[in-house]
């Protein structure tokens, strides 16, 4: 999310008679009040689109799991948005974008607690060469922050203790996510290595994915998933809900990737719309063919994951991949997401919604693909970014989860897990009045 496509913006400067000249370091470039307004507007629309991704995650996860745990999943996802925004306002924003207040190399910096617009409440400072206000900057980035925890939510579904998960999420979103993000988007050491992660294949999706991996290892599989070494299918309970989720995620991704241009630059934003959409489409087609071949039936949940895999895959390079490369990146993601699902299952790493395969594996793939398909970026730098994020996030996730595990436990008692988290944790059922098989 560094400055891109500003060439056009720069040429659009109009000398104004009065008022619309932006002060401050971050606004060396002067743009007209009109350009400032349209850039800022796009960032706000993109913010709303990223917001709706949380509904996408909530419905996708709920649809792909069992109805006895649905309230629990919805509850977690609603809480995570709130926790993400509030902790990001309290500290995360200033950890990620520290305004050059580095404390330890270019690895860790902090700009202080709370929101404080340098320009007062008006927030008119033109960030990114006059592209948006301080408040826009915060709310757009804040919507991203909660995403990482949402990814974990899917992987630990149907067995994690609610309070333990919420404590974990709060700390992970408040500390680990912004620190890793500062390495690249906050102009830290990875940025200096010319590491390129446009909208977050690594900084959002892998960051969530590594924590999901740590959590899945610590939690163990759902009761009844692996019996005498044999994997038993546990079906999702609501495929329309899962489909709503996947397509709302694509819808929101127009803001996630399109907004990461950080301006309304016509060439850059429209190009990102095209690469993003074609990668999603290629992920769908590739996953459907792969599933049809290997599973004999075309599996809807695999195709939905193929769509998301394409989107995660193209996210690191949506601005720089060629049209052909974006289709290849999406198609490869659609294939490897299915192979990864089988691989994790064989490893007995129980991930109810395929979050590891989609977000971790395709997040890595997308980041490396930038090094493969774009001459401007080095494969080695991309690999260093992937490994560094992996090491830090995995360590961070264990460091947070382990104490919680020993102090208060992270897993529901097995009898509650069998009865369902909705009744045991929330005292209600998700579809009251419907007759549902007790074995499910």
């Amino acid at each position: 999310m560094l400055k891109i496509g500003m060439k056009f913006l720069l040429t659009g400067v109009i000398a104004l008679g009065a008022g619309a000249v932006f002060a401050g370091e971050q606004a060396a470039v002067k743009v007209s009040a009109e350009m400032f307004t349209v850039n800022n507007l796009w960032m706000l629309v993109a913010t709303a689109l990223v917001f709706i991704m949380h509904l996408g995650f909530a419905t996708l996860e709920a649809g792909l799991t069992r109805s006895k745990n649905t309230v629990n999943i919805l509850f977690k996802n609603v809480m995570i948005i709130a926790i993400g925004l509030l902790t990001y306002a309290l500290a995360g924003f200033n950890l990620m974008y520290n305004g050059d207040n580095w404390v330890f190399g270019k690895f860790f910096g902090f700009g202080g607690f709370g929101l404080s617009c340098p320009d007062g409440a008006a927030g008119l400072i033109g960030y990114n060469g006059g592209a948006y206000t301080y408040w826009t900057d915060f709310i757009f980035q804040g919507m991203f922050a909660a995403t990482a925890a949402t990814i974990v939510s899917g992987a630990v579904a149907e067995r994690v203790k609610l309070d333990s998960f919420l404590i974990f999420s709060t700390i992970y979103v408040a500390l680990v996510y912004p620190i890793v993000g500062s390495w690249g988007w906050g102009k830290g050491w990875l940025d200096q290595l010319n590491f390129h992660d446009f909208a977050g294949s690594t900084f959002v999706h892998s960051v969530g994915g590594w924590a999901a991996l740590a959590a899945v290892i610590l939690l163990g599989p759902r009761t009844g998933k692996y019996v005498h070494g044999v994997s038993k299918p546990i079906w999702g309970h609501n495929m329309p809900l899962a489909t709503i989720g996947a397509l709302l995620l694509w819808f929101g991704w127009f803001g996630f990737n399109g907004g990461s241009v950080l301006s309304a630059d016509p060439g850059a934003v429209s190009y990102v719309f095209v690469t993003t959409s074609l990668a999603a489409a290629a992920g769908i087609v590739a996953a459907s063919l792969t599933s049809w071949k290997f599973q004999k039936h075309p599996d809807l949940s695999m195709v939905l994951n193929g769509c998301l895999a394409g989107l995660v895959g193209v996210t690191a390079g949506a601005d720089v991949l060629s049209i052909k490369a974006s289709i290849i990146v999406g198609a490869v993601a659609g294939i490897i997401v299915i192979l990864a699902v089988f691989m994790f299952d064989r490893l007995h790493l129980d991930d109810p919604v395929g979050a590891l395969s989609v977000h971790l594996v395709c997040g890595i793939w997308g980041t490396l693909a930038v090094g493969i398909f774009c001459d401007k970026y080095s494969f080695v730098s991309q690999l260093i970014g992937v490994l560094a994020a992996g090491a830090f996030c995995t360590a961070g996730a264990f460091a947070i989860f382990l104490p919680i595990k020993y102090v208060m436990g992270i897993r529901m008692p097995v009898e509650d897990e069998i009865r369902g988290l909705d009744i045991c944790e929330h005292g209600m059922d998700s579809y009251h009045g419907f007759q549902i098989f007790t074995t499910q």
Copy 2:
């Protein structure tokens, strides 16, 4: 929704060689064609976002009630959008914004029937200092109009007669909503008192809430809700649907509050996005803790209502509350919404979805909070606005509902209520083929 944040706009004026100078009283300020276009665009995007709130209300209400009444709820909500838009085109718009055609003090005015753009079909008159066209003005406001009736719909769910409800809604939306609105947004007597209701804590949410209160009193509780003075829980049938509703409402609220800036002013719109989102987040966290403490379990439906409570609460002052104040307003709303649910239940005022607690109580709270937290506004003025709206709306609702009650009845026969409104009113069931407990 009075002019705010236009300072920046004013500074952005560019003298144009030709054509883009707007005529008419409402367009004393000249802005460039570009600024006009971007302002107008934001208002149209906001219109679409407010529209989607109707889907949010429909799914929230349907999810929180029983499956035997779901078709009825969906039908009502779809009809209300249509009725709202058509009556607003016929009369409401010109009642609310009468163009200084006051008939009775600054309490009632009327600009004539139908839509007639002063500038012909092109509608290019630049309202609000060149911010949007006549048609944008109408369609943005028209989307708001139906909201008040939708709020009533939730409170009377599962027992109201369909035709009676639709007649009530038509009249209430056509007359009461725009008249009260004219007092503030139409530059009537409350505006002259410096009463501040930015996007409608009072003019939309309380206006709906007061009518809901009148309707609940006239209708009485659902059969089986209070047995020998004891309140029996009646569970909602579909929590994913309710969650979709609450999060779509938040999504739409970006347009509801953000669009109420009435321009794309970067500082003002982005600030409103931040206060709105932080209040919603604070409402979620506060409601979850309150519910966890009082109900022993964290209740998802309470948390969804906490989210909406925070949104309703911040709506009156989203433009003027400080960041801290917006968090406090949201958190307090998240607490009082739960207390209000218990209070109404103790009063045997049966409100299936908590509409009174969310829209009436938090609408009042949000309006008063502007007087508490902002020095610029007087608590007394805010209180006068709350009381005046309450008196007029309650009187209006009774005046409409009572004749309907005596002429054609407002309540379904008890045997139809028990069998379900879907079969009795619509001849169909909402989930055909699903086995559903008959006791539900």
Copy 3:
């Protein structure tokens, strides 16, 4: 989707000192960089809105059919988006907009395979007088392309073979849709006749509708639909899902019609928002009254179709119909959609979701209505366009479907149809664990 409302844009030209002058034939008009940016932004937001219509179609179709075929419907709809985008990138875009590379009269032309921006990857060429980039042009039009196939999907639901349907869709979207579209929007022979189809009552909805008609004739009705000449009702399984679908479609239609202005022109886009919304509202009210009268109960599915009928009806003339005319067009559409449902049923043309009535009948109505209500356009030209599209699309659909029928079959075996396509085609059920009547 020809140029409209550019008058205002033209007046907004500002001489720029540097850089923002657009080269190329398609950009004879110079606009400021700001105007280019805001126009382009609206087209991208509209693209996202048209995208979400696919979720609307998926949920509407799924909700109005039986739960045993839900996964199949969702699968088809997700695949169609992907196929539509990829084939449009490969060939469709250059068939529809051939850049004056006509091969056969003004009936058929082709601009070559693949996407190739004349201006390189930046795509900055200002199409439509500086309104949007090459990439925006492609992605907006690409989102439209898949719609035609989606319409067919609804009509053939619950009995079509998956692989046959996907092959049909791929060819129809790749060839028939863009060729017919080129006649009007690609400046072909219908454009020269002054045929007016603003956003696609004919070029999208009828094009899908004619293929649906051909498919329904070739497929025959669902097993059990017509027994001894008597039509049996087959109920949809999920009315909340259907309602989500219809309202998401309306939401997306703001982009479908509003984006068809092809710029952010304030007058034109806001006027289209108003006519579109009032027609939908009139369709709802008219359909509810018609249904209430003829079916004795107000039927929710009829009202949802009335909403869509109003939207389809106004689509051809949303830019040129007067406000009153748009309400009449919507209301008439809301009536004839119900009559058409009964007519097709009497003809034993089994259309599970009413796609023929909504998209074909109201698409024709809307196109003719432009000739009836607007003096500028000739009824005869409109009729010629309707008939020509009908002849070509029906012939094209038969020409694609017939070989598929004889080579691989197009209909599921009756025992699989009875068991349900979800289990037989996909090996999974849509609501695992729920008790569902086996007769359904």
